[in-house]
């Protein structure tokens, strides 16, 4: 459930950036930041809403969308879409990494590969494109699902 070595540090960083942008730190936002900074499963808005409802019975999906939208704008969460019609949010790894999407169990695993930088550099040199950010998604079967017969 953590994946990130420093979820607390991540949360504090997000709070800091929100304050810098003149945003208020409400209990709802604090709870959402906590979930985002600790989760490494790339939750959807609905997932976040379900978690949030445990502490705030009357909270709404709209608030979730507003907050993650805000965090996306200030660069503290990544909005990801793996082609299943709904966005997912990554708030704990704001640096380049690879996603391994298991087509069977639907899990999304993060992989840190140093060679991303080499690959990116080579690409820039060959094409003249200036890379600002990247999405590297590999779809396939995770180790656990490779042994299972039925695909």
């Amino acid at each position: 459930m953590d994946g990130n070595e420093y979820p607390l540090r991540r949360m504090e960083k997000m709070i800091e950036v929100l304050r810098e942008n003149g945003c208020r730190i409400t209990p709802q936002r604090l709870a959402l930041l906590k979930i985002l900074s600790m989760s490494d499963v790339h939750p959807s808005a609905e997932d976040l809403y379900a978690h949030l409802k445990r502490d705030f019975a009357t909270t709404s999906l709209a608030t979730v969308y507003k907050t993650v939208g805000l965090l996306r704008e200030v660069g503290e969460v990544w909005e990801l879409n793996f082609g299943d019609g709904k966005n997912r949010y990554d708030g704990n790894k704001p640096y380049p990494h690879v996603h391994l999407v298991c087509v069977k169990c639907k899990k999304v695993i993060d992989a840190d590969m140093k060679s991303i930088r080499d690959f990116s550099k080579e690409l820039s040199q060959k094409t003249g494109f200036r890379v600002l950010r990247q999405r590297l998604d590999f779809f396939g079967l995770c180790q656990g699902c490779q042994g299972v017969k039925q695909l």
Copy 2:
């Protein structure tokens, strides 16, 4: 407007696969296959619909969606989403390649990099993940947009 060396061959391949799957080749489908096999700009459903209307005034978006959905199911087009809320379709390069998405002019450039295979292999070895397909999207500025002042 081509990008693919063999648009005709691509179209024939798609027709063949559709026939193999017991699908009928209608004039509308033929026109759509032609557009898809020749275009390298990753058109959206709306884009395809606009093109198609030139020849079929009464055609509908639903038909476009049904046909690209069919082609996707038989593996002849890739459905792509670059985070702008609408899907794009790639029917002329059914092999691994990199997308360079310009955040300014919104153009999507294809880049063929031999090192994709090395990168993918290294990833499999390190993580035990079996890669079936991949999405490698780089967001940034294309050569033409790098000189422009206003971002």
